[in-house]
């Protein structure tokens, strides 16, 4: 502990040098944490777990929500298929069907059914009753609301649809955080697809093992119909439709590795310069009785502290950036919210400290390997 305090004094009292190194580390860790946030958000959106029991039924060969048109009356047939727990018809309207950073998605749903189908939706501002009572009312995901600066009572227009914000909702589902739920008949008319036509059905099955058989049964049921369907688990759909986006995000992994290498090199270089500038000082400490371990340990602590402080600034900076900027990647109407997460923040801090410690090992060895008499004469 006493050695750690001595290492801390060394950093604090060389303010400019420590500040510049810390800034470099924080820039690298900001980039690393940003990449990790994207990777993590993608993993959450695409990796199916045992708790995922939602299927999405689209029109076969659809490219975009706009090209998927299914009769609303399919609902009663789907609800009758064994294994189906609940189903809801949804009309989708999006401002941009390609890859975009600012996707606006309207989901038209039967207002009286939404809460029963999606009980995890929590109205954090405004009320659900306001939504039920206003035909142009919208329940806006809080991620979306933050991005657009919306509050209950506000009106906004997108995709030619004018709505009034009835409430702001929070949900564990990233998709819910990025959409505006509106009344189904309202959206059908406002988007001119006409009453009785929906984009998709979201179907909840009894348990995860039933996803595949129920999907097959639905598609089989409507195969000979005028509007054949294509049914897949929600996350599989995302993984399939957002391939380009996923490739792009996967590529950022290399940026993350680059950031890690940059931080490693920066800290190693900074600590090596510190050690070289302190050859005689190190020798004096050894003369006073400081062991090679103690000297090496102090160097490693300095590197670790540089990593920690740079990591705190960079990683927390990235966390705040994604929290307040509320970026949403979208493709074909599906959205991927780039949301900060505690595991990414904690792992980012751990990586920063580890990089600081690892980067200091060689300088620490250099500091302690030189013969004492030679260092005293340096």
């Amino acid at each position: 502990m006493k050695l750690a305090l001595l290492a801390l004094k060394n950093l604090v009292r060389h303010r400019l040098r420590s500040l510049l190194t810390t800034l470099g580390v924080s820039a690298g860790m900001f980039l690393y944490a940003s990449v990790q946030t994207m990777q993590h958000s993608l993993a959450v959106a695409t990796e199916a777990g045992a708790a995922d029991t939602t299927l999405v039924v689209y029109r076969e060969n659809r490219f975009c929500p706009a090209t998927s048109r299914l009769p609303e009356h399919y609902l009663s047939v789907i609800e009758g298929i064994p294994g189906v727990r609940q189903a809801i018809p949804i009309q989708i309207a999006v401002n941009n069907c390609g890859a975009s950073l600012d996707v606006i998605t309207f989901r038209g749903v039967p207002p009286e059914t939404l809460r029963a189908y999606n009980p995890e939706i929590n109205v954090v501002e405004g009320t659900y009753e306001d939504f039920l009572n206003q035909s142009d009312g919208a329940l806006v995901g809080q991620h979306f609301a933050r991005r657009r600066g919306l509050s209950p009572g506000d009106t906004f227009e997108a995709v030619g649809v004018n709505v009034t914000v009835a409430g702001i909702i929070a949900s564990d589902s990233p998709q819910d955080e990025n959409v505006a739920y509106v009344h189904l008949p309202f959206l059908q008319q406002a988007s001119r697809v006409g009453l009785g036509v929906v984009t998709q059905f979201n179907v909840k099955v009894e348990r995860a093992e039933l996803l595949q058989p129920v999907a097959e049964k639905i598609d089989e049921t409507f195969a000979a119909d005028q509007q054949p369907t294509h049914t897949r688990p929600e996350k599989a759909f995302f993984a399939e439709t957002a391939k380009q986006m996923i490739e792009l995000i996967s590529f950022t992994r290399w940026l993350g590795l680059g950031a890690v290498a940059a931080v490693l090199g920066l800290v190693a270089n900074a600590v090596l310069l510190i050690v070289r500038g302190r050859v005689r000082e190190t020798a004096i400490l050894q003369t006073l009785g400081y062991s090679r371990w103690a000297i090496g340990w102090m160097v490693v602590i300095e590197g670790g502290l540089l990593g920690l402080v740079g990591g705190i600034i960079g990683v927390l900076g990235a966390t705040a950036f994604f929290h307040f900027k509320s970026f949403t990647l979208g493709n074909e109407g599906l959205t991927l919210a780039l949301s900060p997460s505690l595991p990414v923040t904690l792992s980012g801090l751990a990586v920063a400290v580890t990089l600081g410690l690892v980067a200091s090992l060689y300088p620490a060895w250099k500091a302690t390997s030189r013969p004492l008499v030679q260092s005293l004469n340096a």
Partner: protein, 237 residues
């Protein structure tokens, strides 16, 4: 009486490129406890090498060095480091204080290796600074002190952990006459009043005269001093 420092037939050899250099050859010396000994000699005579061997910074190639009844020439590097931390105070010509630390923090450095609590460390540091007359400069950094004051802080650092042996390499070499006299007086009092055994390397005959005994080294051996100082490797007291 057993000498505090006993150097027996010590030889030190360095390799420089292809050639071997012998700064010390078959050298013997006894120093009783509480003696203030000065070592003089021209550059390259081996006096700093001898000082480093006595301080446990370096090890001889042959011969024995016994200090306070312990043979230090046989200790490993790690053991020597631990031994130095407890038994040796080193005073450098250029003071070598850590520039970013205050006088107080510099003096504290040897104590950070021990198990003393903060209060006890504080007591010892202030006592050491008081002894060298710099209690009122505890918060000053080296850059805010004069050369003489820096050397006093270095002496406080050398004595704060109460070592029996002080080694000083040209402690007055970078000081004006007045400051140098003050430092020599302080070293004399540490030997006389506090029983420290002091070995000092110096080029300055006036500094050497302040010691109890002065030895002259040339080519790794004790020789007759050109100024007629003692050449005996055994104490006269």
């Amino acid at each position: 009486m057993t000498p505090f420092i006993s150097i027996q037939s010590v030889t030190k050899i360095f390799q420089k490129g292809q050639s071997l250099i012998k700064p010390l050859e078959d050298l013997s010396l006894d120093v009783p406890q509480g003696e203030f000994l000065s070592l003089m000699g021209p550059s390259g005579s081996g006096k700093t090498t001898l000082l480093n061997l006595i301080a446990g910074i370096d090890r001889p190639n042959s011969g024995k060095i016994i200090i306070d009844k312990r043979e230090v020439s046989g200790l490993s590097r790690a053991e020597l480091t631990r031994w130095r931390a407890r038994h040796v105070g080193y005073i450098f010509q250029l003071y070598h204080l850590v520039p970013i630390l205050s006088a107080y923090e510099n003096v504290e450095l040897p104590l950070l290796l021990g198990k003393l609590g903060k209060a006890e460390r504080q007591e010892r540091i202030l006592a050491a600074l008081d002894l060298v007359g710099l209690a009122d400069r505890a918060d000053h950094r080296p850059a805010e002190l004069s050369g003489g004051q820096e050397q006093r802080v270095a002496i406080a650092r050398a004595i704060v952990h109460d070592p029996g042996l002080l080694v000083a390499d040209e402690p007055t070499g970078d000081l004006d006459r007045e400051s140098a006299d003050g430092i020599l007086k302080l070293l004399g009092s540490l030997a006389d009043d506090h029983g420290k055994t002091i070995v000092m390397v110096t080029h300055d005959p006036r500094a050497a005269a302040a010691a109890h005994r002065s030895l002259h080294l040339e080519k790794g051996r004790f020789v007759e001093s050109p100024t007629g100082h003692s050449v005996s490797a055994s104490p006269s007291r």
